[in-house]
């Protein structure tokens, strides 16, 4: 049994959906043109993950193994449709921007992956924690990539924040470079691939540093033990 802190660490860092499992790449690469788009899709995915994990965990003893996959798909598809309808009702502008990517959450393999690999074998509390941390980890990657591409591509950050936070947020937009002519590569799909590659490289670099430090500590600790 994995402990709660381990579940959280797995979701946010060690087994991050976007950077390590590399699942759900289609929405990850396609909608992260801006910070707000990334955040919107991230939150929708987070919500789906939590809801599907909890439902799957609740019914795990009822579902026979032969039909578990169709049942999971049914659960996920229902949840996503409900989220899509609610988004269209309450965040209509954002819904128009994220367009086809909301229904695409159904096909995001990370969701059925977590249902099958984790939620169907664990208690509701653990499944909920896993959904939250995996979803949050994915959202963080979406937001990081979105910010990166928006800053480089458009020279702004938080543009169109009013789509999510209402008219008052219109002034939240930060302009880094006045009269920026834009850097097209960052806006187009290749920019998404390059950006994601960079993020993965940075993560691996940090991991290596941490590992190096841990090894250093171990070697320092040894002679002391010997004496």
């Amino acid at each position: 049994m994995t402990s709660y802190p381990d579940i959280i660490r797995d979701g946010l860092w060690r087994n991050n959906v976007g950077l390590v499992q590399l699942l759900g790449l289609c929405p990850l690469l396609a909608v992260t043109g801006t910070f707000i788009n990334g955040l919107g899709l991230g939150l929708a995915t987070l919500l789906t993950l939590v809801a599907s994990n909890v439902t799957v965990s609740l019914i795990r003893s009822l579902v026979r193994p032969e039909v578990r996959i169709p049942v999971f798909v049914l659960v996920i598809a229902s949840i996503v449709t409900i989220i899509e309808l609610s988004m269209s009702a309450f965040f209509h502008e954002l819904y128009k921007v994220l367009g086809i990517f909301i229904p695409l959450i159904v096909t995001n393999c990370s969701i059925i992956g977590r249902a099958e690999a984790f939620a169907s074998k664990n208690t509701v509390g653990r499944a909920l924690t896993d959904g939250l941390s995996m979803g949050l980890g994915f959202t963080l990657v979406l937001v990081a990539l979105g910010s990166l591409r928006e800053i480089i591509g458009h020279g702004t950050l938080f543009s169109q924040a009013h789509l999510m936070f209402g008219e008052a947020a219109r002034s939240m937009t930060l302009v880094f470079v006045e009269d920026y002519s834009g850097f097209l590569l960052a806006v187009l799909p290749p920019g998404a691939f390059i950006g994601l590659g960079l993020l993965i490289a940075i993560k691996n670099l940090i991991d290596k540093r941490l590992q190096g430090k841990a090894a250093e500590k171990a070697t320092v600790a040894e002679p002391i033990q010997a004496t």
Binding site: G33, L62, R64, E66, V71, L74, T81
Partner: protein, 213 residues
Amino acid sequence: MTVYRPIAISALFLFLFAVIGAGLVAFTFDSTAEKIAENERRALLKSLNELIPEQRYDNDIFSDVVYVRNSELLGTSEPVPVYRARKDGWPVAAVLAPVAPDGYSGPIRLLVAVNLDGTLAGVRVVQHRETPGLGDAIEAERSDWILGFNRRSLSDPVAERWKVKRDGGAFDQFTGATITPRAVVKAVKEALLYFRADSHELFEKDPIPAAQQ
């Protein structure tokens, strides 16, 4: 018999889940349908009002709509809505929703508002998939280009000059993107041609509620 039992139970279980799932979705659809329709209505009304300011008309422009078909001039074989603005019962302007079928990456959906005298009250892009950073300058939020259509008509510039500058016309193209503005200019011109040919009839027809379309 015993062989089939577990299968039957599984099937029943799956069936139950399908029913519950469908029920939940139906319930959500039912409770949000009104709000979604209202949202769409408000979004459309907002863009209509950008083209024809509210003080210029006093009818319910959203419901005063007819659907017309003309694949040659309106760019689609689908019925195209025409919203009609009236003041004290007199026609003021019509807003057509034609399509520019030859955008760089697919059709561009437009709103073209034409005053009764055939001058343009304005043009807006409703939906497009043009290249971000290049072709998307047709959006009013990104550049002033689309405002260049205001007050133009079929005689200003003359028909041969309803082109982008590169083709010898009167309208700017963008650096690195000619196809997009070319498609929009052509679609606006054809919408004007359609309006000129049909303007009388357009205001006479009885409105058709959107629900019946």
